[in-house]
Amino acid sequence: MKSIRNKVCAAALALISALAGTGQAQQSSNDSIARELDTYRSMMKSDPWSNPGMLDVDRGQALWKTPEGPNNVSLEQCDLGLGPGKVDGAFATLPRYFTDADRVMDVEARVLWCMEKLQGFERVKLLTRPHPSAGMPVKDLGAIATFVAYRSNARSFSATFSHPKEKEALALGETLFFRRTGPMDFACSTCHGESGRRIRLQPLPFFSKAEEARKILGEWPAYRVSTAHVMTMQHRIYDCFWQMRLPEVELGSDISIALISYLVKQADGGEIKIPGMKR
């Protein structure tokens, strides 16, 4: 734990000194800032065990196996799409249609379903504050989803979107991606509709390009250095809607699952490398 923190601190210090060194920056030095930022990012990624997100993979695994909730059962009989208890490779096939729930679900919606139906947790309580504040660890649901995703590492995104409801989710996701709403008139495509753009210094992936979608989708859930916790894809989309000046989107809503379906489809065939490491 201590060595993880030390490595992260070293990387952060490298970034600060990189930025401080260019404090009186000229336009010509902007390229060097981009290079220093890349160095910072590659330092963070160079040793997978320096990623604090691994702690939540372990935590998620323990939670998966431990009897919990009013029914005092573990999640080991949870069906993630490949049959009860089958975790390896399941994330790579999501989102998918589940007959028992009669809807398309991503990993978080499915874990939520299992926590509710198997363990007896109240759905309302699980959805009240499903995402961590800055500096707080990812919630149990997110840690379990991170563990599930981790167990598809080195596999490729391969959701089929063959069921009519899967096709419907995909089509809705595509429509939503380009749909402009809110007081800022933003759509997802406002920021993610072109290659090589950035907000402040943060590069923005262009999700209609398979290469970029594969790289980014394969990194989520990811450890986010600035907020010091693992962030899940549902949380990432919740944050996008916050920035778009929309209200709080519910974890596992048809809207967020449709968007995730669209993104996963764009990333089809991309390698899963969980947990990623973000700014």
Binding site: A25, A171, T175, T181, R245, I255
Partner: protein, 209 residues
């Protein structure tokens, strides 16, 4: 490429490729279905926020065409959006560039964590635009605005054009990615004047690189 030429290019590209690109798109066109899904997805939204879940006529046209409009629709949007622009009663469009610089830095306002408001809304210009050499943390979604006024010889007509673009970008560039700061009530007339000053004052750091 300037935004103007980009818009023209996009319009032409749309005409050229409309048939081909449409065949690849999978869309849900039933607005009532989308509205129902949106309302269900934001159960914590208070009634006065529900309008945020649906774009107006202009945004629906931009979404549908993916910001690449047929020319006649573009003209209709420009006319409709121009009509929403309000000017200061005394006609003076240039405010205080120092206040403008602070507004350009601030992304505060209208997020669900910004209520009740503790300060004025920001314009967050640096999120997307380069403006000064002093600020190296700028985005590139929009064009660089470095030396904006100097390049335009600080003319009155250009100050009005800048005011219009900030108040309602679609009046100039239909389906621009930029928010309609005035029309949508994000910024006040006084704040927009301060941003015009940031762009158009000879003393502004934008014009003293």
């Amino acid at each position: 490429m300037s935004e103007g030429s980009r818009t023209r290019f996009v319009v032409l590209a749309y005409i050229a490729f409309a048939g081909a690109s449409y065949a690849q798109q999978m869309e849900v066109t039933d607005e009532a279905r989308i509205d129902a899904a949106m309302h269900a997805a934001f159960p914590k939204a208070s009634p006065d926020w529900l309008s945020r879940l649906k774009g107006d006529q202009t945004m629906r046209a931009c979404s549908k065409s993916r910001d690449a409009l047929p020319a006649e629709v573009a003209r209709a949007i420009a006319a409709r959006e121009s009509a929403t622009i309000q000017y200061p009663p005394d006609g003076r469009l240039i405010g205080d560039w120092k206040k403008g610089e602070r507004l350009a830095q601030s992304g505060y306002g209208l997020r669900f964590t910004d209520y009740p408001p503790t300060r004025e809304n920001g314009g967050n210009c640096y999120a997307c635009h380069q403006l000064t050499n002093e600020e190296v943390s700028y985005g590139t979604v929009g064009p660089s605005l470095l030396e904006y006024g100097k390049i335009r010889k600080f003319s009155e007509a250009e100050a009005k054009a800048a005011y219009d673009k900030i108040y309602n970008s679609h009046a100039t560039f239909p389906c621009s990615l930029m928010p309609r700061f005035g029309t949508n009530g994000v910024l006040t007339i006084e704040q927009i004047k301060d941003l015009v000053a940031l762009l158009m004052s000879p003393e502004s750091p934008v014009n003293r690189p």
